[in-house]
Symmetry: C2
Subunit: 149 residues, 2 copies
C-alpha cells in the first residue's frame, strides 16, 4: 500500500499568532512555576528551587534556568558575598509575566478547589494594585521576598 501521510498539508506559519512564542518559552511543566516562585515567594537560588519542587530533576532545573535566561525572562548574577552562588532574578520581561500568572491563578481558583485563598482574594479585590505591588518590589531592590506564600 502506498503511503498516505496525514500531516503534510497545513502551511504552519510559525509565530503567525503571538501565542506560539509564549508557548515555546513557557509551555512546559516547570517554567511558570519557577517564575511564580521568584515573583511571589522571592526565590533567588538554585538550591531554593531544588528543595521546593520535590520532583524536579537537577538537570531539568538547570536546563529551565538556562532557557529562561536565554529567553531574557530571568537573569543570573554572581552573589557578591559568595563567589560560588548565582543569584537569579526576574528581568523586566519576566516581571511583565505577572498579569499572565494572575489570570491563570484566578482562572484556576474560579474552577477548581485550590489553596491559598488569601492570595486569590487579594488578586480579585484589586488586580491592578496587586500587579503594581509586584512591579514596585522588583523595580527597586530587585525582588525582596513578599508576604505572599
Amino acid at each position: 500500500m502506498p503511503k498516505t501521510p496525514r500531516n503534510k498539508s497545513g502551511p504552519k506559519r510559525r509565530s503567525e499568532c503571538p501565542l506560539n512564542a509564549s508557548v515555546e518559552m513557557l509551555g512546559d511543566r516547570w517554567s511558570l512555576l519557577i517564575i511564580r516562585d521568584m515573583m511571589l515567594r522571592g526565590f533567588r537560588s538554585y538550591k531554593e528551587f531544588l528543595e521546593c519542587y520535590e520532583r524536579i530533576a537537577t538537570n531539568i532545573l538547570a536546563d529551565r534556568l538556562r532557557r529562561l535566561t536565554t529567553n531574557g525572562i530571568i537573569q543570573a548574577s554572581p552573589d557578591p558575598t559568595d563567589g560560588r552562588k548565582l543569584i537569579y532574578s526576574l528581568t523586566a520581561k519576566g516581571i511583565d509575566l505577572a498579569p499572565v500568572l494572575t489570570e491563570m491563578v484566578l482562572w484556576a481558583a474560579a474552577h477548581e478547589n485550590t489553596g491559598n485563598q488569601a492570595l486569590v482574594r487579594q488578586m480579585q479585590s484589586d488586580k491592578g494594585k496587586f500587579l503594581a505591588g509586584i512591579r514596585e518590589r522588583w523595580e527597586n531592590g530587585g525582588g525582596s521576598r513578599s508576604g505572599n506564600e
Copy 2:
C-alpha cells in the same frame, strides 16, 4: 558510599498555590494552542487541528483533546449532519481562559517580534471589549466562526 538524595526535603503541598492546577491542565506544548484556535479561529473538528499543526502526532492530538475534555475545558458532541464526526466546543471553563490567552499574547507582542499585529492592536485598544466579544460569540450559538448564525 551511602546515598545522599537531594530532593526529599520539601513538603510540596500539591495545589497549595492555584497555579499548580493550571500548569497541570495547560502546561504542555499543545493544549493552549488548541484552545486558542477554538477561541479565535473557530476550529471545531479533529481534522482542522490535525491539518493545522504540521507537527502534532495523531495520538498526541487525540490525547490532548481527551485531557481537555476530562478537565472540563472543552466538550465533544456528535455532528447531527454526519454521525462520524465529533464537534468540539469550549465549555464555560474554557471560555474563561480568554483573559489568560489575551495576557500571554500581549506579553509576547511586547517582547518579541510576533505576527498578527491586527489582533494584538485589537486586544490592546480595548481588552474588556475584546473579551466580551469572545464570550458573547460563544454563549449564544456555541461558538460560531465569525458572523455565523
